[in-house]
């Protein structure tokens, strides 16, 4: 397992908006954060990606001043929580996982309440417009959809016009349409030059929203870089997935699901013939499917077909997709992001 440590090309890390050094935090017997170093530059949209329990929320809550670290240093906007807490709270915006606002308040009343805590910030009208809740302005929070509640949480994080915005799993539990709606909102904030730090366990969300991503597992950063850099680091840009059988006609979908991975063992399939094909970077078996990490898809795929045909194997399933951060995580840990 290698740790890809790829720094962004620009040199703006000289005065990072967020600086974390040697961060550790344990809860009873679980080491939630285990020696974390991170730097986030001004104007960057930075993602903490990892499965549940990787330590993303603990890390972000330490940054938000809600959790005391056991060890290590956190600096935001040149300040730290022990001496600059009051000023920091004025200058950051926070959206927590699963906050439930009082159901019997209206959208406008909720925003007015949060706005009153900040010395400076945007108007209630502007925050309602930004979060596209105009039609729900006088509706009670209890009557909002999941996506609208999440946009309200975002609006509450934005009323103080923060320099640094923390979003903890902003789209968890939302349907795909509401998720895309929220992504558009984050896009706008990015374009406005705000520094954003978000956690997610959706790789497509990290790819879509983040300039740079830290992949976390067991409280550590196991890879750091821009999404294209991270994807390139596993060698192939595309993933080929296939299943084979000796018998004619192959297996249907339900048959494959019951298939023991041992039946796909290398005795049946001569792996060496596949992995020596130019452009094939690596091979693994996942959920009874062979996975090849591949570059140069257009020349590699015909050779894979030829190699399998030469072994007298029948392809029961075959598909390809562009490599994603999910594949990066799988390569680094041998597990899927959503296994837990």
């Amino acid at each position: 397992m290698t740790v890809a440590a790829i720094h962004p090309v620009n040199g703006s890390l000289a005065t990072p908006t967020l600086l974390i050094r040697g961060l550790r935090k344990a809860f009873s017997d679980v080491q939630a954060v285990d020696g974390l170093d991170l730097e986030v530059a001004q104007g960057e949209s930075f993602g903490l990606l990892g499965p549940n329990g990787a330590g993303k929320t603990t890390t972000i809550e330490i940054c938000e001043g809600l959790t005391e670290p056991d060890e290590g240093k956190v600096k935001l906007l040149g300040l730290n929580w022990s001496t600059g807490a009051d000023e920091l709270r004025q200058r950051i915006g926070v959206q927590l996982q699963e906050t439930q606002f009082p159901e019997k308040l209206t959208v406008e009343e909720t925003l007015r309440l949060f706005r009153s805590f900040f010395r400076r910030g945007i108007s209630i009208d502007e925050s309602i417009r930004t979060s596209q809740l105009e039609e729900k302005r006088h509706s009670r929070v209890g009557g909002l959809s999941g996506g609208q509640k999440q946009r309200l949480a975002m609006a509450c994080a934005l009323v103080g016009d923060p320099e640094l915005l923390f979003l903890d799993e902003p789209t968890t539990g939302l349907d795909p349409q509401a998720r895309r709606h929220l992504w558009d909102l984050v896009d706008q904030l990015k374009r406005a030059g705000r520094t954003i730090i978000l956690t997610t366990h959706y790789m497509e969300e990290a790819e879509r929203l983040c300039d740079r991503v830290a992949i976390m597992d067991h409280g550590r950063v196991i890879a750091l870089g821009t999404p294209p850099q991270l994807i390139a680091s596993i060698g192939g840009e595309d993933i080929v997935e296939f299943a084979v059988s000796h018998t004619e006609g192959g297996l249907n979908e339900s048959g494959r699901a019951q298939l023991d991975p041992a039946q796909l063992d290398p005795a049946q399939l001569d792996l060496a013939q596949l992995t020596t094909i130019p452009g094939v970077q690596s091979h693994r078996v996942d959920a009874a499917l062979h996975q090849l990490s591949v570059s140069e898809l257009h020349t590699t795929v015909p050779r894979i077909f030829a190699a399998l045909a030469a072994q007298g194997l029948h392809l029961s399933e075959f598909r390809t997709h562009s490599a994603t951060l999910e594949d990066v995580f799988v390569r680094l840990t041998g597990r899927n992001l959503r296994d837990e």
Binding site: E64, G65, D86, Q97, T99, F101, R112, F117, G160
Partner: protein
């Protein structure tokens, strides 16, 4: 800056107030329930006119003599019917003429029958020509302030202030903690003291409405007296409510779920419902328990309310209950602030 600070305190308080008003159950328990309870108790324990005792005699002459007393109704029946009427309780006493006098048949373990015996004997002696040795005159008093309803209204006031403060604070705070709202609030620049202060302020506003409605009802419906200073009564209400708010804050300072919180609240309030003299005097408990009973905030509150309303005692003479309430305000508040869990 100070203007904005006040702005957020105003926002927090008005939000609290709105949330209470938008909760129909809360309105019922705070405003309607105590009035219903007072009305029910007032009707059940209303003072009835003095009882008239049913008696009987076996001769019309005796019956006539008995009927002359306003406290008796007398009928004539033969001995056999009279014995049966005594056994079924439809009469309390049967007067039977005997050689040279009269015999009374009655049950001397029944207090009403004993009273009937006294009245009956007096009536028959007077009819026979007895004269009073000493002239006596009756001056009747039916004083307000000594009825059961007068006793129970200050007790209900105390109980109501306790319930609305502890429930009002406890449930709201624990719900906010459970829904991660508390954590969200402290992630914002909100001054923490303002969050707690907003509960006390909204409680004070509610208090005015709540106490005015309840005591107004007690005055209009039952004529419960207010013999002490109304300002001092208002001060006692505020002090009581703040002491119970502090207790509510303490109860809810760490509880993470509604179940834990409601268990704790019942644990705190149940002994006071029983011991603190809401429905009957706390002095009925044995001397061994008295120091404990006297130290409870609801006992102190009820004692102070009764002294003010029923006896017109001024605050200068209520130092003990006021000191107990102050202690219950300061100590739980200080402890709650130290152990309060914001997430």
């Amino acid at each position: 800056m100070s203007k904005l600070r006040l702005g957020s305190l105003y926002q927090l308080t008005s939000v609290r107030f709105r949330l209470i008003l938008r909760e129909p159950e809360a309105i019922f328990w705070i405003f309607i329930f105590p009035i219903l309870l007072a009305a029910g108790l007032g009707i059940a324990f209303r003072n009835r006119p003095a009882d008239v005792y049913p008696v009987a005699a076996t001769t019309p002459q005796l019956t006539q003599a008995l009927a002359a007393d306003k406290g008796l109704t007398a009928t004539t029946m033969d001995q056999q019917a009279g014995v049966r009427a005594l056994a079924t309780g439809s009469i309390l006493l049967l007067a039977v003429p005997e050689a040279g006098g009269v015999a009374y048949r009655y049950d001397d373990t029944n207090p009403d029958a004993r009273s009937a015996r006294l009245l009956a004997d007096r009536a028959i002696q007077i009819a026979a020509g007895r004269r009073d040795a000493v002239h006596a005159e009756n001056q009747l008093i039916h004083e307000t302030g000594s009825r059961y309803i007068d006793f129970v209204i200050p007790g209900l006031l105390g109980m109501n202030l306790m319930g609305s403060a502890i429930w009002g604070l406890g449930f709201s705070i624990v719900e906010a903690r459970q829904k991660k709202l508390l954590k969200r609030m402290v992630a914002s620049p909100m001054p923490r003291w303002q969050y707690l202060a907003s509960f006390l302020l909204s409680r004070l506003i509610m208090l005015v409405i709540e106490v005015a409605a309840f005591l107004g009802f007690a005055r209009l419906a039952f004529g419960v007296p207010f013999r002490g200073s109304l300002w001092q009564l208002a001060f006692l209400c505020v002090l009581t409510s703040m002491a119970f708010s502090a207790l509510g804050l303490l109860v809810s300072s760490r509880a993470g779920t509604m179940e834990t919180a409601s268990g704790l609240m019942n644990l705190v309030m149940l002994p006071m419902w029983i011991l603190s003299g809401v429905f009957f005097s706390a002095s009925r408990f044995p001397a061994l328990l008295q120091p404990f009973v006297r130290a409870l905030p609801l006992t102190a509150a009820n004692d102070a309310f009764r002294a003010n309303m029923l006896q017109g005692v001024s605050l200068n003479h209520l130092a003990a209950p006021v000191a107990i309430l102050l202690a219950w305000l300061v100590v739980p508040f200080a402890v709650a602030l130290r152990i309060f869990r914001w997430r």
